[in-house]
């Protein structure tokens, strides 16, 4: 019982009903085992004892009094820093289905989240619940009697894509005959695992992904590649035969590049490609920061830094001053590092200026592709304002770039890769094929893979999304072995393989009715429709209703 005292209400006071997630605890089921409190990543659960007063009134006598009862229960902490994040770990471990978070539409937390004077940050996603634009694009051009129908279960489909500069046929022949250099081109599966670094991801997660990727390639023959993100690659991996499935990233922090350069002479194979990161869709113009508590001994050794220090990647490369120079210096140097045998391409955040970058790349003989990351992309850590409101949606960005290439007659020469929200509501193949038919040659996906292969708990309702603070309840984005050992790399690999097998089936299920089996339908926008006139006009696709 709370004694009679004044209960203060300060501006920052919150009640459980003001929080984005409210704990529902059923005392009738709870056996007080304490597992929920032991697992809660933010320590929001308080195991409490409470005293209850029961007035004792006997009507036909003058007896009066109170009896007191003490009981135990679970309460929710209302501190801003210890609010429930809705991860649902408590529900996962509760043996009695006695506890779980419930989303609250009416949270007032958002107005108090600035306690301490910093703007709010989180990991994860943009938090835009509901169907995305990509979820609304459907495939309308069904081939039935007008052209031969295909059977997804029976016919063979070619749906790999090309990463690399494809020369015009006459130029290819000329160079071939004269023995000149021909730009490297990789044939890969168009669903690429987007760049997530060893560091942002736990070792079990990162290696589990690579193990699954290797399985897809070596056992199933699906040429899946994964991008590493900035932060290097374990030396054994650099010297392994699996390097060819990895797109190495160089970003403004250059983390891990000393190990990579050291390993080049000993590499058994070349990496799939080199990605030069100029920007990220989730936080354009903002750099990366690996917080000190994620810089474990292992990460420190991998990145070539001392343990437990903050590792900032600045928003810009310090020594690059103009697009021409960036393209010259970075693309040429990275190409040269592997004797011009590895495709090198830049990654930029979605932007109205993407076309200018693309046009510059068209003129650069070493540029292999352009990767555009839209506003719905994920991140390990970013300010809310960057995640929510900075950047460009991917669909029209890719579309504009592709149509621009078409005008120049170069659409088959330099591939555009798209990312940012692909599969954010689970419709990964629908989203990816929509982008591909709008003109992308393939997509990168990060969050979807985390959710599908590793069971990431994040959602567009800001569920979990604490990837930035090293307490990932699933062990995906933590460097604490007591947490990341929850994730079995074999399970990750297994789920990854299942995911790609299912993606393959779905790709065929879309391509078959389109009557397309011999190549990925890049730019086949006559097959697309949307029940939104403005979007249809903007994307130059059919309005259907």
């Amino acid at each position: 019982m709370v004694s009679i005292r004044s209960i203060p209400s300060r501006p920052g006071s919150l009640s459980p009903n003001d929080l984005p997630w409210i704990i529902q605890h059923r005392e009738d089921r709870c056996t007080l085992c304490g597992k929920c409190a032991a697992v809660c990543p933010v320590n929001t659960l308080k195991l409490t004892y409470m005293r209850k007063r029961m007035p004792k009134i006997v009507l036909n006598s003058s007896e009066r009094g109170s009896s007191f009862k003490t009981f135990v229960g679970i309460r929710q902490n209302t501190d801003v820093g210890r609010r429930c994040i809705g991860c649902g770990s408590c529900a996962m471990v509760c043996p009695n289905e006695a506890i779980g978070p419930v989303f609250n539409e009416n949270d007032r937390y958002r107005f108090q989240a600035t306690a301490g004077g910093d703007a709010t940050k989180r990991g994860g996603r943009r938090n835009e619940p509901g169907g995305s634009l990509l979820d609304r694009i459907i495939f309308n051009r069904i081939s039935m009697l007008t052209d031969p129908a295909l059977d997804a279960g029976r016919h063979e489909f070619a749906y790999n894509t090309l990463l690399g500069r494809v020369l015009p046929p006459e130029e290819y022949v000329r160079r071939k005959l004269s023995g000149e250099w021909i730009p490297p081109v990789r044939e890969i599966f168009p669903f690429i695992i987007g760049s997530m670094s060893f560091g942002a991801l736990s070792p079990n997660m990162w290696l589990g992904l690579l193990q699954g990727v290797a399985y897809c390639n070596e056992v199933l023959g699906i040429p899946v590649v994964m991008a590493t993100g900035e932060g290097g690659c374990p030396p054994w991996v650099l010297r392994s035969p699996f390097l060819k499935y990895i797109i190495l990233q160089v970003a403004s922090g250059y983390f891990g590049w000393d190990e990579i350069i050291r390993a080049i002479p000993e590499m058994q194979c070349d990496p799939a490609a080199i990605e030069i990161k100029y920007g990220q869709g989730a936080k354009p113009g903002d750099g990366g920061l690996l917080m000190w508590f994620k810089v474990s001994k292992l990460i420190a050794r991998l990145r070539g830094v001392p343990e437990g220090v903050d590792l900032p990647s600045p928003p810009v490369h310090q020594t690059l001053y103009s697009i021409e120079e960036s393209v010259m210096k970075m693309i040429q140097s990275m190409s040269m590092a592997w004797n011009f045998k590895v495709p090198v391409y830049p990654k930029i955040s979605g932007s109205t200026s993407a076309k200018s970058v693309l046009n510059n790349l068209v003129r650069n003989p070493y540029a292999s592709a352009l990767m555009i990351d839209g506003i719905d992309g994920g991140t390990g850590a970013a300010y809310d304002i960057s995640l929510n409101a900075t950047g460009h949606p991917i669909a029209s960005n890719v579309r504009d770039c592709y149509l621009d290439l078409c005008k120049q007659g170069k659409q088959n020469e330099i591939p555009i890769f798209a990312a940012g929200g692909v599969g954010k509501n689970g419709n990964v193949v629908q989203n990816a094929l929509a982008l591909i038919m709008l003109g992308a040659s393939g997509v990168h996906m990060g969050k979807f893979i985390m959710q599908s292969a590793a069971g990431c708990l994040g959602s567009e309702k800001n569920r979990c999304n604490v990837c930035n603070v090293g307490i990932c309840p699933k062990g995906i984005t933590s460097q604490n072995p007591k947490i990341y050992r929850r994730l079995d790399p074999d399970d990750v690999a297994h789920r990854l393989v299942e995911t790609f097998q299912a993606i393959q089936v779905e790709v065929k299920k879309v391509m078959a009715p389109l009557g397309r089996s011999q190549s990925l339908p890049i730019g086949m926008s006559d097959a697309l429709g949307i029940a939104d006139k403005d979007a249809a006009d903007r994307l130059n696709i059919r309005y259907v209703c």
Partner: protein
Amino acid sequence: MSKKITVKGRDENGQRISTQIFEDLVQKAFTKSHDLVLETYGQHNVGGRLKSGGKPVTIEINGPCGQRLGCMGLPGTKIVCNGPASDDVGWLNIGAEITVKGEATNGVCNAMAEGKVYIGGSIGARGLTMTKWNPEYNKPELWVLGSCGDSFAEFNCGGIAIVCGVEAKNPDNVLGYRPCVGMVGGTIYYRGKIDGSYSQINVKAVLPDDEQWQWLLDRLPKYLENIGRPELLAELSQREEWAMLDAIPPQERALMKTGPMSMAEFKHKIWNPGFGGGDPIRDLAPGLDRSPIGMVESGDLRRKKPFWANRDKAAPCAYYCPVHIPTIDRLRLMREGKGKEAYEMLMEYTPLPASICGHICPNLCMQNCSRQMVMRRSTSRCWVGRPKINRLPRLPLL
């Protein structure tokens, strides 16, 4: 009715007559005779729909025949085409015996449910596809002297094919590319080379057993005689030259391993050897244990130790009781002389009836009693409900 009647596919001017008019002429001739010679000139759907009430019908085809020869053929009809045939021979056939002495093109026996088709040469793509078999009737049969084109026996359901590989169009691959996709029933006898591209989840490669071999031997002579090649009997009767693709029943398919390799096997054979046979980060973090653990662990792996702070405030006897018996209330009731009520209250908490609880419990209430230091004996066992005791035990004073 036995006089042969000839129906011509060209009019007096030598012009082709349409399929519709030709069919009309054939049906008219059929009312007069069940023994017809059709001099076709590319007319389609010839030889089907001749209702004889089961009496034998003989149709001989001379001249170029159109598509779907013998389509919707009925039992009792026997069609012999002296030359080659075009697409879809025996389409939707439900019982006719169709012999084509030459080759046939695509779609032979598509959707056929019963009857026999004998081909004296090779066939094109998609032969024996989408066949049906109603167990009330006989299985459809397709005999091919040479080889088959691609996509053979797709969705075959009960059809039996015999592919002899003699003078084959494609001697290196007598069943064509990717046969048997979606095949759920039936069987294929073949003789000669195949490329192994058959659908492994639908059919398995076997050798004919005695019964199956006898089945083939029994029927070979008739087939060879029909296509006019009896001299091949000895050559085709070498059992060791024959092999089969047999449909995998669904029960068996459900037990088949889904993936080509287990993750454990992959790890052992491919993954670990890729890093010189060990953990890929053993050099970065020597001795790091990355093996999987649960969400809530104990011992060294424990992250948090939750406790209910009421331990600090509750009466120790009640708190430490494993079943949370409110001992204070119990003692109060007993002090008030309400032994029966105290006993009843106890029974609401303890899972052990009668006096067992008191006998097996290590007395945690007593051990944790905070008055231990004050009094020599805190509380003690008391006997409630025993008839011999007619007075209440002495209780410690509080």
